[in-house]
Amino acid sequence: MNPLPPTEQATRPHEPASVRDTEGGKSGIVVRVRGLVNRFGAQVVHRNLDLDIRRGEILGLVGGSGSGKSVLLRSIIGLQKFESGTVEVFGQNINRLSPEEAERLRRRWGVLFQDGALFSALRVGENVEVPLREFYRLPARMRCELACMKLAMVGLDSDVMCKYPAELSGGMRRRAGLARALASDPELLFLDEPTSGLDPISAARFDSLIQHLARALGLTVMLVTHDLDTLFTVCDRIAVLADGRVIVAGSLNEVLACDHPWVREYFHGPRAHLALASHARTATGDDAPDREG
């Protein structure tokens, strides 16, 4: 009767990680990167990079432009062939997967690429429906309405459904890409600069959306961002990528305490001070996230 045989037994998503995890869950670490080396010709992008993403956390990844954040993301999701090192996602080494295992794994994550990467030949609505159509058997009308709901979640009206990606603005494309990444409620999200190119209102809306979803669904999120507000308000942990490795990963305070020059410049510059100050202000008050509408 079910469209798909229930591979995982249905459990409350917000229950402790131990209940939900079915494989490799002893540690509660969803993504484990060890000794990653990436090289393009003579240019070494990652040298022995280690990174952990814990279950249920929102990890913010920062680093200078060109420091290899996108390449790291591509390595984790298996799009980039790296030179050495291991990447484990849900306890499975992504380089040693059978095609079926790989497909099952891919269903469990959602990805937003830096430039949206919408399918140009499909309408926006159809783009969002792609994960639903490929992996779930749903009536067409319901699929369409679910896509509309996802688009509304990222702040897009239903009239963009019928447009082609080329007919959208840059920020709208980005949000449509986010809606596609969220379409099937994947438990692991990789978002490459989700708020760049968005106006502050949409960006704040994204922050609150991601927070609510992560809390309600127990999502694990890896978020590449240059947006200090997103970093301070949304992320549970921050990882800093510099010199080809993760030089520090921890809570905001731990990162602030790091005395690597790049980290110092990044977190103690004038912009960071402003964002930090406003963050401190909201944090002291009731930090219940504001609700839209």
Partner: protein, 418 residues
């Protein structure tokens, strides 16, 4: 029908109707996993669930107590509801084992339907996080984009023909306009030679000409051999095998050499012009050029056009030689016609005009192939499928126009006695 489970027997029924305890009139117990994996099934089950009519419960007095603790929708519903008191219904979600946005959306849709049926809905048994989910996944009635009604097959067929005709005419008009623009730009760059992109020209000549030599040579060689082989069978009947030289000479020089080369280049280079320029359009590179004050026709089209015009005649000459060589080898190998015999007959049968005809046509065909290829590249819409479609169209159109023009030339040259 109140008071009994509506879908008895089915343990997994997601909705169970029960008699409500005061102060509600009815209670619907929602249970099980409400997730995307089960959404299709749930959708069907919810649709099959008979929503009890609110009017069946006539309420005289209206005890409009405060909404249940932890329920915000109650307040909202109150705002929405008409002044007349509605019978109250409790939607109990405490038996829901898993919920995601799709499930929340289904529940929200159910709430909407219950409300439309005249109930005042209260939601209970929902944790803090899940209430947010319900908030986020609010069901909005979508107007699913109406597909235009399917036309009647016959009228649809006629309409298609009309549409295609208009499209072809428009396309041809646009192509001519584009050709005019290219000629104008070309003329301008004749007066300002520094506008020529020399590097690009040389690169394109290599791609169009040099790299095509292997395939053009091989095909011409084989076709020359085949013409001799097949022609000999026919000429043998008259004992005129020696005349294969005439046959292969005339056909290769006048028609086969140039036609084959043009068709190969249309498939090989015309298509790559479209694909290259088309994907540049797709990635806004052409727009960027315009914004920088560069003229795409000058930068992209003229070097390709010139490269084609310069190399197609050269390739044709080469194809002619290879064709004659193939014919000669076949004649020598199978017909006992030796080299001197073959060459002497060839010289008697063909003149410089046959040779020139091929080269003259080459220039025209080169213009057609490159202009059509570049034109289709520049009119690509901004999606990947369009690049593919235009590439195909460019090749088909170029070959078609080449052959039509070839027919004109054949008549023309015979008329002027060449």
């Amino acid at each position: 029908m109140t008071g009994q489970a509506q879908q008895q027997g089915e343990e997994s029924a997601p909705l169970v109707l029960e008699r409500g305890e005061a102060p509600t009139d009815l209670r619907i117990l929602v249970r099980g996993a409400w997730t995307l994996t089960r959404a299709g099934t749930l959708d069907r089950q919810v649709a099959a669930f008979e929503i009890p009519a609110a009017s069946s419960l006539a309420r005289s007095e209206a005890p409009r107590g405060a909404p249940l603790p932890g329920d915000e929708r109650g307040g909202e519903e109150e705002r929405r509801s008409r002044p007349r008191p509605r019978p109250r219904l409790l939607l109990d979600l405490s038996a829901v084992t898993a919920l995601d946005t799709s499930g929340a959306w289904l529940i929200d849709r159910l709430v909407g339907r219950l409300h439309d049926a005249g109930w005042e809905v209260e939601i209970a048994g929902l944790g803090e996080e899940w209430r947010h989910l319900l908030e986020l996944a609010r069901h909005r009635p979508v107007t699913v984009p109406e597909m235009p009604p399917e036309p009647h097959p016959l009228t649809g067929f006629v309409a298609d023909i009309g549409e295609a005709t208009v499209h072809i005419l428009n396309n041809f008009g646009a192509l001519l306009t584009f050709f005019g623009v290219v000629v104008a730009r070309f003329a301008r760059s004749l007066f300002q030679p520094r506008r020529f992109r020399f590097t690009s020209l040389v690169y394109q000549m290599e791609m169009v000409g040099l790299r095509a030599m292997a395939i053009v040579g091989l095909i011409s060689f084989l076709i020359g051999a085949v013409v001799v082989n097949q022609g000999a069978v026919q000429l043998e009947k008259f004992g005129a095998e020696v005349l294969v030289s005439d046959l292969v000479g005339i056909s290769v020089l006048r028609e086969l050499g140039i036609l084959l080369t043009a068709v190969i280049l249309a498939g090989r280079s015309g298509s790559s012009f479209t694909a290259q320029i088309g994907s540049m359009v797709l990635h806004e590179e052409v727009d960027a050029m315009r914004a920088l004050g560069l003229d795409p026709v000058e930068v992209l089209v003229i070097p390709r056009l010139l490269a084609m015009v310069l190399t197609l005649p050269l390739l044709t000459f080469y194809a002619d030689i290879m064709g004659l060589l193939g014919g000669g080898l076949m004649a020598w190998g199978t017909l006992d016609i030796d080299v001197t015999q073959y060459l002497t007959r060839l010289q008697e049968a063909t003149g410089w005009r046959d040779f020139a005809i091929g080269l003259i046509k080459a220039v025209f065909f080169a213009v057609i192939i490159s202009v059509v290829g570049c034109f289709h590249g520049l009119v690509v819409e901004r999606n990947a499928e369009s690049v593919g479609r235009h590439t195909t169209t460019a090749v088909v159109e170029a070959i078609f126009m080449v052959i039509v023009l070839d027919a004109f030339f054949a008549v023309f040259f015979t008329t002027i006695g060449w």
